[in-house]
């Protein structure tokens, strides 16, 4: 009980701090808005043209596809993790010294921070969601179950992606090429997570590859529930797979970080 209150105090403070930094980038949020509306227009007409001859694609109807691509578009923040930039900056500036000396788990702190940021990013996108429903025919589920299934899948998928990025970001300890690394990462993750097209539409060998990688857990799995591509009856199995990824990557990320930490020299002073 005390332990719980302790965790609540400490990480609650971290969570409460997130919006204080978020507002600093408001101008940037508006820019993104414009870009995303344009993206929705393009997506809509593109898929309308693709489906013009009628029928289904990869077993998906036009309605399912439009639901999927629009909602996936909104979950883009999952793909754009800044962790490696954070690491790179903290190491270069030696600021990591300050963060390592906070009386809390370094990784847990950044995880809570990432959760807070994801939540805010999605909140900011609520108007876009409404636009998607009103102007672009997106249909959202009307039953609570599907929403719950989605939210759990999203939380698990986000954690999977966080741990992957954690492992990936530890490369910053060994190389200063964080920018190049992150460009490659965004490209690979965007594609294989199913953020652009649902996995069903990919050629067989690409689907297989995508399933061997963790990225689909973060976008494809939650979005396919919300868009009606996967029925919520398949939830238990999907969650278990996500959980397996989460535990596997979680353990590896701790080990990799421990290893990397031995290497830091904390510049400056």
């Amino acid at each position: 009980m005390n332990r719980l209150r302790h965790l609540f105090n400490v990480y609650g403070a971290v969570l409460a701090a997130v919006p204080k930094f978020y507002t600093a980038y408001r101008a940037w949020v508006w820019m993104e808005f414009v870009v995303q509306i344009l993206a929705m227009v393009v997506l809509y007409f593109f898929w309308q043209a693709v489906y013009a001859s009628g029928g289904a694609l990869g077993g998906l109807t036009f309605q399912q596809t439009i639901n999927y691509v629009m909602l996936a578009q909104m979950l883009m923040p999952l793909v754009e993790n800044r962790l490696i930039f954070n690491f790179g900056w903290m190491l270069r500036e030696g600021q990591i010294a300050i963060d390592l000396l906070r009386p809390m788990d370094f990784q847990a702190r950044l995880y809570v921070d990432a959760v807070g940021n994801l939540f805010l990013n999605l909140l900011v996108k609520a108007p876009l969601l409404i636009m998607a429903v009103v102007f672009f025919q997106v249909q959202l589920p009307r039953d609570v179950t599907t929403w719950l299934v989605f939210i759990v899948a999203l939380a698990l998928g986000h954690a999977v992606m966080f741990f992957f990025d954690w492992i990936f970001s530890c490369l910053a300890f060994y190389s200063t090429e964080t920018w190049g690394l992150s460009v490659v990462r965004v490209a690979v993750v965007t594609f294989f997570s199913g953020a652009i097209v649902p996995l069903q539409m990919m050629p067989h060998w690409l689907q297989t590859t995508a399933n061997l990688l963790p990225f689909a857990q973060s976008v494809y799995v939650p979005v396919s529930f919300l868009s009606g591509v996967t029925p919520s009856s398949a939830a238990a199995q999907a969650w278990l797979i996500q959980l397996a990824w989460l535990i596997g990557l979680g353990v590896i990320s701790r080990l990799v970080f421990r290893r990397s930490l031995r290497k830091i020299t904390v510049q400056g002073g």
Binding site: N9, V10, G12, G94, I98, L100, I264, V266, G268, G269
Partner: protein, 329 residues
């Protein structure tokens, strides 16, 4: 029972040597050439609760490296550290709860937010009871003159104000050990004075153990009873400040500029040459043997002196003298 225990502690930094240019980067990637820098070399000391220790040495001596190992953010290459009966590297988080650290070159405060936001965050993550937090805040508002600054974003604070804020953030959770790595760097005398008073008062009232690095011997003189001196990674002196003062406090250096090139002259009694250039002469003399005016007069009798100045020996020259055996003599 010692609070800090350091035994044969060493740190070797391994850096990749790189030839200039793109080809050099490429080569370094595939065939790295390493160079080892021995920054701290088998140092040992113990510190008792409530001690105020000055940790001094010239640039690059290994002070910050030692502090980083004591705080647990840098893995030692050899030897052992124990702080409050823990290994600070292996038990970094529990250790962090009981210590406070100021790195003079960086900040733990949130740059864009008012000072009070950072302090409130610290209250929550250290779980400081609200009553004692309030009491400490009021106390610091007074002793560090922070009252008017709580609402100011850190980016709008001056260097001196920022350092005072930094000290408040470091001590508000009532740590048992505080490491201050150059807390007075770049500050004017008035602010330095206030910070010194504050550190001494915290030590007196709460028996907090302080380890302080600085290049300002005034800090040491005012705050510390004990001095540990490090040079090229080795401890060359560990003992009371009074001994150093007794040995070196009696020396003064006088620098004379002459109107014409210095010819032959007789050295005044009790003085020795530190440096001699074409028209410039630096002498050291023992204050207990002779006086500044005697030395100056003796020289002025022989040479045409345009200007002269008097100085206490600085850290570098003390280090040099310790090497030449002055302390053991």
């Amino acid at each position: 029972m010692s609070i800090i225990h350091v035994q044969d502690l060493s740190k070797v930094y391994r850096i990749v040597e790189k030839d200039p240019g793109l080809a050099g980067s490429f080569k370094a990637l595939f065939r790295p050439r390493y160079k080892d820098i021995l920054a701290v070399d088998r140092i040992s000391f113990t510190i008792e609760p409530g001690e105020l220790v000055g940790y001094i040495g010239v640039n690059g001596a290994g002070k910050s490296t030692t502090i980083k190992m004591l705080t647990g953010i840098l893995l030692p290459s050899g030897g052992a550290v124990r702080v409050l009966e823990r290994d600070p590297y292996q038990q970094r988080v529990p250790n962090a709860r009981d210590i406070g650290v100021v790195f003079g070159q960086r900040s733990q405060l949130w740059w864009d937010l008012p000072l009070i936001e950072s302090l409130n965050f610290i209250q929550r993550i250290y779980e400081i009871p609200p009553a004692s937090f309030k009491r400490r805040l009021d106390e610091f508002a007074e002793t560090l003159e922070l009252k008017a600054l709580f609402g100011t974003p850190i980016r709008n604070l001056s260097l001196g104000q920022k350092m005072r804020a930094e000290l408040a953030a470091t001590l508000i959770h009532d740590p048992q050990v505080v490491y201050l790595d150059e807390p007075t760097i770049g500050l004017d005398l008035l602010v330095k004075e206030r910070i010194r008073e504050f550190i001494k008062a915290q030590n007196r009232q709460r028996n907090v153990t302080v380890i302080l690095t600085t290049h300002d011997l005034g800090d040491i003189e005012e705050i510390c009873q004990r001095v540990i001196m490090i040079d090229a990674g080795r401890i060359i002196y560990d003992g009371p400040l009074s001994l150093i003062k007794a040995r070196f406090g009696k020396f003064r250096e006088i620098t004379l500029e002459t109107a014409s090139p210095i010819g032959l002259f007789a050295l005044p009694t009790g003085a020795e040459i530190v440096q001699q250039a074409d028209q410039r002469l630096t002498l050291r003399f023992d204050r207990t043997v002779t006086t500044a005016s005697q030395v100056a007069a003796a020289i002025m009798n022989q040479l045409e002196v345009a200007d002269f100045s008097l100085a206490e020996p600085d850290l570098a020259s003390i280090v040099k003298q310790i090497y030449s055996g002055a302390l053991h003599a």
